[in-house]
Amino acid sequence: MHKSIERIKQMVVKEFIQIFRDKRMKAIIFVIPVIQTMVFGYAVTTDVNNIPTAVYDLDRSYESRELVRRLEASGYFSIRNYVSSPSEMQDLLDRGKVTMALQINRDFAEDLKRRTPTSLQILVDGTDSNTATVAMDYANRVILKYAKDVAGKTARLPVNVDLRARAWYNPELRSKNFNVPGVIATVIMLTSLLLTSMAVVREREIGTMEQLMVTPLKPLELILGKTIPFALIAFFDMALITSIGVLKFDIPIRGSIFLLPVSTAIYLLSVLGTGLFISTLARTQQQAMMAAFFFFMPALLLSGFVFPIENMPVAFQYLTFVNPLRYFLVIIRGLFLKGNGMVILWPQMAALFVLGIVVLALSSLRFRKRLG
């Protein structure tokens, strides 16, 4: 037993020397999580604001300027251009310079003063359907609010329902709160998959696997020696992303921080198992890299990382049950945002654990077979 641990230790040391022999690897292992966290913290926001807007104001009245001012003050729209012809509007939309164009007709102020209903033309670039839907909703609200204010109390509806909405867990609805914890899950998967599978195949490709096999190293020790370094890197990534998230982006950790390494460890079983499995399929590093991607992309898309699982067709929803990323995302977001504990998270943990054991066992078996 003692000797076995010693051998694994030697193997891990060798592996680390090999990984970091290339100075750039140190930078990469640090840079990938940092870039992803930064991008998801700053850039990847599905919050819609500053919608580039063009205004074609034929009325040029106090009222029309007031309406435009209110649109801009809402924070949702940023007026980029004042145009003087319909063709200019068309051109700006065609070029994608603006997403929305608002046309205020000549008698706008006149109509408002006489309290006769008037209309506004709004053109929306529907290319980005999501932004377009939200933009129309916002524009509607701002305009109707303005109309109500102009009309005064006379236009009170006979029935008034007041909707008091609150958002739990993320009251300001910041998308970084949703995304940054998710980055932990995706970075660990992408890096571990690529590194594990390529590192094993590399030995085979450059012919050093034979050398390893003549050493007293047993297959299981070889597997452990090959996976432990990448597990350690994954833990490092997890800690790094969590620190950036908390310190830089004020992501709350409402649950027990102790559950974070525990669940990461459980998650790693499946991820490293899959990496090992890919290494048994691939003969070259090229194949390993492509296969890792072949697994990673669907896993990423069918995990709920960006696209909610409930919106998928039922058949795909079932498919997500074999996706380790799915469970880990629920766990990690529950931990960060909802303050969930074991009481709520245990089914996810259990599923992830079972999945991990199965994947790891199968690929270890296959790995040993390939060695023999």
């Binding site: 750039r24 604001n49 209903p117 290319t127 980005d128 359907s129 509806l157 329902v161 696209f307 709520i344």
Partner: protein
């Protein structure tokens, strides 16, 4: 430069590709798989939001409100709560995303002309879905109030909305053209980023160096076969997008083919540069992630609108070729943009390709170090 030598290198590369049918199969299956997932499985359209209702009023008016919500298709009631605790539990465990509680004086207030209140709690952790859910809810309660109030008062201003380019606002039409750019970027990176590093690692580079082949010939020879694979992928993607998913292709298809070739040339050359400078497949794979995949996926405007990003990041996106290609694809598919509009993007892609190709030539040393 001799055509013969370029041809010889291209042939050698082709033979190597043929010997690796697994990689080749994956190079063709990757776009198909991604398009299928994006076409069939994924949608940004929000509906069937799991909802828990806590109806303390239990009147015909409250039931009518609930059926207004479910009939819209946006909300599906998964449970009628018996207590406030139920709501906590359903939201905490993620079994419901929306909780609606109707106070006991709801119908009384409506009948007496007072303002009736509704309490709504949404699970904000997915901020995007939450925002959309709130938008639907306020619109539906408005409609409900107008309906039971007996007809609507015409608002003083009626906003007339028209949607261009993607009239039905299908998220598929929005995502798939951009996705093609991402696929191309990823394929380009996967295919070429290892090709030179592999020769160094396996020791076959020494053999190549001892031949009379010159640097630009070697690089071009290596590019050509991968260019063919990339181009087939491109055709495959466009065919699937138009025929399988019915994304309208309104622009000029030859123009699209031209600009795609330019983009592929740049993407593949970038892969070669990575491969030349790293000389190690492991490092190359990681660097091509940082340089190609992540920017193409996150900063190209393929899904996440660039106008929403903070200013410094918006400036960074200007040096990302995928950004221009995404604009070209969306413009060609949905807007039917002519060359006059696409020319800026096309010129950038061309400059990018030429610069990267030049770098590849400079960086590659036909020397054993």
């Amino acid at each position: 430069m001799k055509l013969l030598r370029i041809k010889a290198i291209a042939q050698k590369e082709l033979i190597q590709i043929r010997r690796d049918p697994l990689s080749l199969a994956m190079a063709f299956l990757m776009p198909v798989l991604l398009l299928l997932i994006f076409g069939y499985a994924i949608t940004l359209d929000v509906n069937n939001l799991t909802t828990i209702v806590y109806d303390l009023d239990k009147s015909s008016l409250s039931r009518e409100l609930i059926s207004e919500l479910t009939a819209s298709g946006y909300f599906s009631v998964v449970r009628s709560a018996d207590s406030g605790k139920d709501i906590d539990h359903y939201l905490d465990s993620g079994k419901a995303r929306v909780a609606l509680s109707i106070p006991s004086d709801f119908s009384k207030n409506i009948r007496t002309g007072k303002t009736a209140q509704l309490q709504v709690i949404v699970d904000g952790s997915d901020s995007n879905t939450a925002t959309i859910a709130l938008g639907y809810l306020s619109a539906l309660t408005e409609i409900y109030a107008q309906r039971i109030g007996g007809g609507r008062i015409t608002p003083l201003i009626e906003p007339r909305m028209r949607v261009w380019y993607n009239t039905e606002l299908k998220s598929r039409n929005y995502i798939i053209p951009g996705l093609i750019a991402v696929i191309m970027a990823v394929i380009a990176a996967l295919l070429t980023s290892l090709t030179v590093a592999r020769e160094w690692e396996r020791g076959t580079m020494e053999q190549l160096i001892s031949t009379p082949v010159k640097t630009p010939e070697l690089i071009l020879g290596k590019l050509i076969p991968y260019f063919l694979i990339g181009f087939i992928d491109m055709v495959l993607s466009v065919v699937m997008a138009t025929f399988l998913f019915g994304v309208p292709l309104r622009g000029n298809i030859f123009l699209l083919a031209m600009i795609s070739s330019v983009f592929l040339f740049g993407g593949l050359s970038l892969g070669i540069v990575i491969s030349i400078t790293t000389k190690s497949q492991l490092v190359a794979s990681q660097i091509s992630m940082v340089v190609t995949f992540l920017p193409a996926f996150l900063l190209s405007g393929f899904m996440f609108a660039i106008s929403n990003m903070p200013k410094p990041l918006q400036i960074i996106t200007r040096i990302i070729p995928a950004r221009y290609f995404v604009a070209v694809l969306k413009g060609t598919f949905l807007k039917g943009n002519p060359l006059r509009i696409l020319v800026v993007d096309a010129v950038f892609l061309l400059i990018f390709g030429l610069v990267v190709f030049a770098i590849a030539n400079r960086k590659f040393k036909k020397k054993i170090v």
